[in-house]
Symmetry: C2
Subunit: 247 residues, 2 copies
């Protein structure tokens, strides 16, 4: 519980390996996460090889964590294995569709997050790479993912070599709705985002980016409409390419 | 760690309430989960009211947990709040697209799974309702979810009133791939699924359903091609309806 309360994203790692036995033990514990119909429709690709890290790095916009971390884990939605089992057992699989993609993605993410909790409890540090859904096709090619296997998220993992400050979060009332969704008024927004906007780190961020507001740093630089729309298209194409939009 | 190793899905709950303070504390701890760009693009709807549970129950195919649990939590991908903030701060949000839907869904699931770990550590029991993506439109209507808010998963939560056996999981080598994806041969499938198929509970399951193999119970009864295809269509329609496929 304490490791959850105190968690920070770790982007710098010691040059110290994670033994295979330790990694496997953590992965096996994480299989205990809930899974739709106990189908375990996920796989994980373990990257330790220096050349493989270099190959996968561009898919993550060459963020330095990929090459620096001793272990990179790519968590995939996977209906391939289950479908192979069905075919070997006189059963006709019907998992080449978007509902199955979502089921498998949910399965993969519950597994991933459980793994992260276990790893952090053991003193490891990690960073999620949201870039996974921005460049899925590159990852599919490098990791040789067959049809019905799709990379959902990636983490870099190692022993921490930094101790960053914990970042801010919104207050409880920003996230929690009682009984039904209560939409936000302008004054709600002011009070819910007030603390975030007042933080020195965020003020500096606005200044450095030559913007007028913190929100503009997000819309104009970090998560732009243009990139979101471009990658929405390539993401859907990749989902179709992997066989999950059989229309 | 022990609560993760020992976890079971709990479908029967004591008639004992979960105090609001305790629930809020667990939710706040769970905000520490990783979130893309610290946008926290999720919301959670807390259902305690008996009438609201009755209204939402059909969306979950009237599984008895919904009405029986003291608390039902619907976890949503949410770019509504963030977009409202942008609009109030002279910034033009660009989150009405599929990439943003995926980012928000991932955020929501990491938050959900962290919450589940925290709740189980505190002695609570829970059940994921995968039905959420099968009937999203009904949930959207009952919970009055506006555009850019989408129900991703639901859990029922309470103090356990049963202690079921722990269910089987596949062996490590079924899930983990070193460096790149190693496809499964027919003999891999035999050895990876052998234990699952040999279990008395699963043999009984095949018999009760008058099937020849366990896989057929999945393909012909539990997760059929027909239902998957129908709900794939309604799921994509609901994602479009909520404004995440602005084409």
């Amino acid at each position: 519980m304490e490791s959850i309360k105190n968690r920070r994203t770790i982007r710098k790692y010691q040059q110290k390996d994670i033994p295979e036995e330790m990694l496997n033990e953590m992965l096996e514990i994480s299989f205990r996460a809930s899974t739709v119909g106990n189908m375990q429709s996920y796989s994980v690709i373990v990257t330790r090889d220096v050349e493989m890290k270099a190959k996968i790095s561009p898919a993550h916009f060459d963020q330095p964590m990929v090459n620096q971390a001793p272990v990179v884990l790519t968590f995939c939605a996977d209906f391939r294995r289950f479908s192979r089992w069905c075919e070997a057992r006189k059963a006709v699989p019907g998992y080449d569709n978007f509902q199955s993609f979502m089921n498998a993605a949910i399965d993969a993410l519950l597994f991933t997050q459980t793994f992260c909790t276990v790893a952090e409890e053991k003193g490891l540090g990690l960073c999620y790479l949201g870039t996974t859904t921005y460049n899925p096709k590159m990852i599919i090619d490098v990791l040789e993912l067959p049809k019905l296997v799709f990379p959902i998220t990636t983490i870099t993992l190692g022993y921490p070599d930094e101790s960053p400050e914990q970042v801010d979060r919104l207050p409880l009332e920003a996230i929690v709705h009682k009984e039904y969704y209560h939409d936000y008024t302008a004054s709600d927004i002011d009070s819910l985002y007030g603390n975030k906007e007042s933080l020195d780190a965020n003020k500096k961020f606005v200044e450095e980016n030559h913007k007028e507001t913190l929100a503009q740093v997000f819309t104009d630089i970090r998560y732009t409409k243009k990139v979101n729309e471009l990658t929405s298209e390539t993401l859907l194409q990749a989902i179709r390419y992997q066989g999950f939009l059989n229309e």
